[in-house]
């Protein structure tokens, strides 16, 4: 659990983060969104004390984060820096091994971990391990940056726009992988993004920042349904709202009794994908199948349209 209590950061006269309080439940993903310069990175960096707050306290599992030396704290918290920040003079493998080396893991364990992470991020350890960062594409560099943050299996992971440079296909894959890791290890993740789609998809809760202030902190559905201010509404994107709402739900949860013609859609696809398929194929209904391939029922345009309406 991460408790942020009345945290403020001032540089001279300008207040960059203004009296922010929030609680991030353990084993959840909290996504921070906001315009450029709204203080997202600064807030994130106060958690691992790369930035010392002007006022306020941050507690990790009940303990003040100032109770251990900064460098020790930071070894226990994964950090994927904005714009990857790889060490240009170290190979990809050495970059990923940074924190395990600092923690004094033995060689075999480090090598096994590096290989595991590189394989997970689709970088062949043999081919890419000995390369230097400048020999990678921007997207590959970013994946190495994320792998480096994950290397020591931290309980808390801070990620500053980790997927910005990835193409949509790899980005979706990276998001899924991250969620899988998060589920498996029960990691608490705080992720900064500019991409509302990513925020709604990844976040158990979304924190919206504006000019240093936390203007809303709630579940994605709540943010979509009841934006706290016109700023949040603009950020969410009024014209995108119904579709974002649908993207939160699974087809399985919108199944109606009955049957329909044509290729079946899997039950764990998003409702938004189902609507897109319905509209594109010009049909009123699609059959739905479970993970075992058995028919579950059908999904209809009318049903989805009702679900896309503003919740009461």
């Amino acid at each position: 659990m991460i408790e942020i209590e009345g945290i403020t950061k001032r540089y001279d006269a300008t207040t960059v983060v203004d009296d922010v309080s929030m609680v991030i439940e353990p084993r959840t993903v909290c996504v921070i969104v906001g315009t450029s310069g709204s203080g997202k990175t600064t807030l994130l960096r106060m958690i691992n004390r790369l930035v010392e707050p002007t006022a306020g306290i941050i507690k990790l599992d009940g303990a003040d984060n100032r109770s251990v030396p900064g460098y020790e704290l930071r070894r226990s918290i994964g950090y994927a820096i904005q714009g990857h920040g790889l060490f240009p003079h170290r190979t990809v493998a050495q970059n990923i091994a940074t924190v395990p080396v600092l923690l004094g893991w033995d060689k075999d364990r480090i090598k096994a971990r590096v290989d595991e992470l590189m394989t997970l991020y689709q970088l062949d350890p043999q081919a890419y391990g000995p390369r230097y960062p400048h020999e990678l594409s921007g997207g590959q560099q970013q994946r190495v940056g994320v792998a480096r943050a994950l290397a020591a299996e931290p309980n808390v992971l801070l990620m500053d726009e980790p997927f910005g440079a990835l193409d949509p296909i790899i980005r979706t894959k990276a998001q899924e992988d991250l969620l899988a890791i998060q589920k498996r290890f029960g990691t608490t993740i705080i992720l900064v993004t500019h991409d509302m789609e990513e925020a709604v998809h990844m976040g158990d809760k979304i924190a919206v920042m504006d000019a240093g202030k936390l203007v809303q902190y709630a579940k994605p559905a709540e943010i979509l349904a009841n934006p706290a201010s016109s700023f949040v509404e603009t950020l969410v994107g009024a014209s995108e709202r119904p579709f974002r709402l649908l993207s939160l739900g699974r087809v399985r949860d919108a199944v109606e009794i009955g049957s329909a013609e044509g290729e079946a859609i899997p039950g764990d696809a998003s409702q938004r994908d189902a609507l897109a398929e319905l509209l594109w194929s010009g049909r009123p209904a699609l059959p739905v199948k479970g993970t075992d391939g058995k028919p579950l029922g059908r999904i209809t345009v009318d049903g989805l349209v009702k679900r896309a309406a503003r919740p009461a």
Partner: protein, 399 residues
């Protein structure tokens, strides 16, 4: 419009000049036909008489040398394949090196030990012109750092071979050498010790000082300014300024005199070279550290490195090529400056230079100057190669 496109010559003669080659050919023509090749003197201090190539060498040898020069100049003049240009420059340089020795023997009357023969302007200009051609070819060949050091080693071996073969023994510079062979090596080792020792001291003091200046911003401008001012003090003046304090140390600090610390001699020379070396070392350390990408520093802290780990693991390796550039500047500068040490009895190759100036014996001046230039040249090539090798892996990230 772009330059004329390269296309194979179909019809007619398509002659293209090489830009640098035009200059080289012009210089070579002047030096080969108009400038004196060697100087003859009845003894070591009387004014010399100029001898052209035709006068300085037996007729057939002279013709051969002129033919080689003309051919090589033509190869340089036109756009010719690199291999040909390489061969032309190497053949000409070797021919010049061998034949200047022949000229020495040819011009010295048999049994005369007073007569002196030395290379004259034409010889030096030819050497310069074809070294330029060779350097141009080597640059265009884009040699790897190791290969460049290899070329240096081969050249050094060739020169040692010529020296040992005795084919230059009748040249005046070697006659000067034979008269003081022992002191030549003694002064040589003193010269190298002075240059390297003061460099080592400057690195030992300058690196931490540079790191300190980088960390404490308020000190930076002040320290660099002071070092800058020291750099502008003329060396003679600096020696003068050092005589009093070092003399005082020698008489008042027990043991100092035993260590060789005196107002004149090696100690002030060493201190002066050390002071001149500090600025390049400190300034390049500061610049190198400031050039470390912010993101890399940030990541180092974010991953949980301590300040020390960050300094040695990230900042230092990334700043290393720049720091090494400072060390290269210092080494080349020190090898040259160490000549001045002779002025205050500090020894080194400068001893011959100043003796030669005093006796108006140019050959003796050369005996001090040539090894100094050669050492500086070799140091520059070797350190450039090292810098390039350390820098290739550490290219600055683009993100």
């Amino acid at each position: 419009m772009r330059g004329a496109p390269e296309r194979p010559t179909g019809e007619g003669v398509n002659i293209r000049f090489d830009k640098l080659g035009v200059v080289i050919a012009a210089i070579a023509a002047y030096a080969g036909f108009l400038a004196p090749f060697a100087t003859f003197r009845a003894n070591r201090i009387v004014p010399g008489q100029a001898r052209s190539i035709l006068e300085a060498l037996p007729a057939t040898t002279a013709a051969l040398l002129l033919a080689i020069i003309v051919a090589a100049a033509l190869i340089a003049l036109f756009r010719t394949p690199l291999v040909l240009r390489l061969a032309a420059s190497v053949v000409t340089l070797v021919a010049l090196a061998l034949l200047i020795g022949v000229a020495g023997t040819f011009l010295t009357p048999a049994g005369n030990t007073f007569a002196r023969v030395s290379p004259a302007s034409g010889f030096w200009i030819l050497i310069f012109a074809f070294t330029l051609l060779l350097a141009d070819v080597l640059t265009r060949l884009n040699l790897s750092p190791l290969a460049r050091v290899g070329v240096l080693v081969v050249a050094a071996l060739a020169i040692s071979l010529l020296l040992m073969s005795g084919s230059w023994d009748n040249l005046s510079i070697l006659k000067e050498y034979f008269n003081r062979a022992d002191s030549f090596w003694a002064e040589g080792s003193k010269h190298v010790t002075l240059a390297l020792g003061s460099l080592a001291a400057a690195v030992i003091v300058g690196l931490p000082l540079g790191i300190f200046c980088h960390r404490v911003e308020r000190l930076r401008a002040g320290v660099l300014n002071v070092l800058n001012i020291i750099q502008t003090i003329p060396s003679i003046a600096l020696f003068g300024l050092l005589i009093a304090p070092l003399g005082w140390v020698a008489t008042h600090v027990p043991g100092a005199a035993a260590l060789g610390i005196r107002g004149i001699g090696t100690a002030p020379a060493f201190v002066a070279l050390f002071l001149y070396s500090l600025l390049p070392v400190v300034a390049n350390t500061v610049v190198g550290l400031a050039g470390v990408p912010r993101a890399a520093n940030d990541a180092a802290r974010g991953m949980g490195m301590t300040d020390r780990q960050r300094l040695f693991g990230v900042e230092f390796p990334l700043a290393f090529p720049v720091i090494l550039t400072g060390i290269r500047i210092v080494l080349v500068q020190n090898i040259g400056l160490a000549t001045i040490a002779a002025l205050i009895g500090g020894g080194g190759f400068g001893v011959f230079v100043f003796q030669g100036v005093g006796q108006t014996a140019m050959d003796l001046v050369l005996l001090g100057a040539v090894p100094t230039v050669a050492l500086a040249f070799a140091a520059a090539i070797i350190l450039d190669a090292v810098i390039e090798m350390t820098a290739t892996k550490r290219r600055v990230e683009t993100a």
